[in-house]
Amino acid sequence: MLVNSVTKKYSSSVILNNLSFELNQGDIIGLVGRNGAGKSTLMKMIAQTIQAYDGSISDNDQVGYLIEEPKLIPNKTGLFHLTYFSNIYGNTFKLHEYEGLLRKLQLFDVLNKKVKEYSLGMRQKLGIVMSLLNNPRYIVLDEPTNGMDVETTFEVLQELRRLAEERNVGILISSHKLEDVEAICDRVLFLENGAIADEQQLRNNKQRILTLVFEDSTALATFVKMQQFGSIIHSGDKEIQIETVVENADIFKMLNRLDLRLIDFTAEKKTLRRVYMNKFRGE
């Protein structure tokens, strides 16, 4: 699916501004940004519930989606929703095909209850299962784990990963829960003021943040001159913070060769939370 230079305006305010990215089948992309950054609008455009915009989105005719909140009929049962939304799209809902998933999500035993009796988490789970109906090639999920407990969140995320890997479904997921995004996404897009402010690979991400504190500023200057390990995030009088994929052992080898002494050294994985804080809060 190719989102190509899409721009969406409402009167004078620009919601999305010349935004482009590609979502391949089998990939999971996370969408992260503040409220009002344009995440839901982008998702609605992909799902085609918004039609009027500039630019183009290709290959988005088979998209399952759950945007904002699950859309359910209160006085109908969970089973009705699954049957109905399969049937009107020309498919037959086969309960046995979904039994495993429904049991994992603790929905199987409440399928015959009216959804007005469901909790927020249960409605959310039903909304997710509904988005999987009719064999979509892509799924768009807006805050999918909203209202769910830790255990169910894990099950949902695991199921989404399985869908991407086994059924080659491309998934776009937005969430304020950065741990969820980090747990399953291959890539994350940072949305700010309707544009992609940055993009981060998450799968096989070996990037780490190293903080090195030298004995004196001369040692730091020598290190800065020599270092070819990654990009500098912050540099002080004796202290430097770098982003790198190089192993610690290789860094120590070089420090020994140059006879540069360290007072302190810390290494931490470059988490999504950290990237987010850097980007949006300047921390």
């Binding site: 085609q48 519930t49 039609q51 859309k71 109905y84 049937n87 009107i88 799209y89 020309g90």
Partner: protein, 241 residues
């Protein structure tokens, strides 16, 4: 993923039967007509078969409009419309499917009305019942139901709340025609009288069960229906949900 018109229509028509609303609507239409038949047969009134027909249409037309509209109400009030208003094709299919449901309900009410009139006539209710009345009755019912249905549909597209939509339709079908009828008696301006006479909001509910409309009234009716149909189609294709 394409919304299948036939599947949508069959599923939802079955729903109307299963949840009992079709039966309730039919009872609402038939009970006044049967009551009228009873009084005529007992000789307590001098009414004819056309009165039976009018009594059938009184609540019958309201039920025939509101029943298919219940799906639009359901989908817009619960926002499940966003699960079907996605591709342009699906938006059109949803609209066409709902129109087919309304058409089916209107035909059902027309047929039930004809059967009821035949039974009343067989039982001895006075008045002429020729085939032309059946044709006029069927066409009138179909035009009325579709026009009011599309008008209600349009109100939902403009986010008018369901209670207000139902209130407006009830007023338009039950009270407005009588109000206009009374106004007619008070005014002497021919142009204004012609306007009222050819206003669909007047001639549809007043004449639906009793006579065929004039050619001008049919033309106005078909034109109104066509305009509503196209406006809703265009609005459906563009609306954001």
């Amino acid at each position: 993923m394409t919304l299948r018109i036939n599947k949508y229509v069959i599923f939802n028509l079955t729903e109307l039967v299963k949840n009992g609303s079709l039966i309730v609507g039919m009872l609402a239409a038939c009970v006044p007509a049967i009551t009228m038949t009873y009084f005529i047969l007992n000789g307590s009134t001098t009414f004819t078969i056309k009165h039976v027909s009018n009594f059938y249409c009184m609540l019958g037309m309201l039920a025939a409009v509101l029943l298919p509209l219940s799906f639009i109400n359901r989908d817009y009030s619960t926002k499940t419309i966003s699960l079907m208003n996605n591709t342009i094709q699906n938006r059109r299919n949803y609209y066409f499917a709902n129109c087919i449901i309304a058409l089916s309900v209107s035909l059902l009410y027309a047929m039930t009305g004809i059967v009821l009139l035949l039974v009343a006539k067989t039982l001895g209710v006075p008045g002429d019942l020729d085939p032309s009345l059946f044709v006029a009755f069927s066409v009138n019912v179909l035009l009325l139901v579709m026009t009011y249905y599309l008008f209600g549909y349009l109100l939902f597209l403009y986010n008018v709340r369901s209670g207000t939509v139902y209130g407006i339709l009830t007023a338009m079908l039950l009270f407005l025609p009588n109000a206009l009828f009374n106004i007619q008696g008070l005014i002497h301006n021919d142009i204004l009288l012609d306007w009222i006479e050819n206003f669909p909001g007047y001639f549809y509910p007043i004449m639906v069960g009793s006579d065929s409309f004039s050619p001008l009234q049919y033309s106005i009716g078909v034109f109104t229906l066509s305009v509503l149909f196209v406006v809703i189609l265009k609005k459906s294709e563009k609306m954001e949900v």
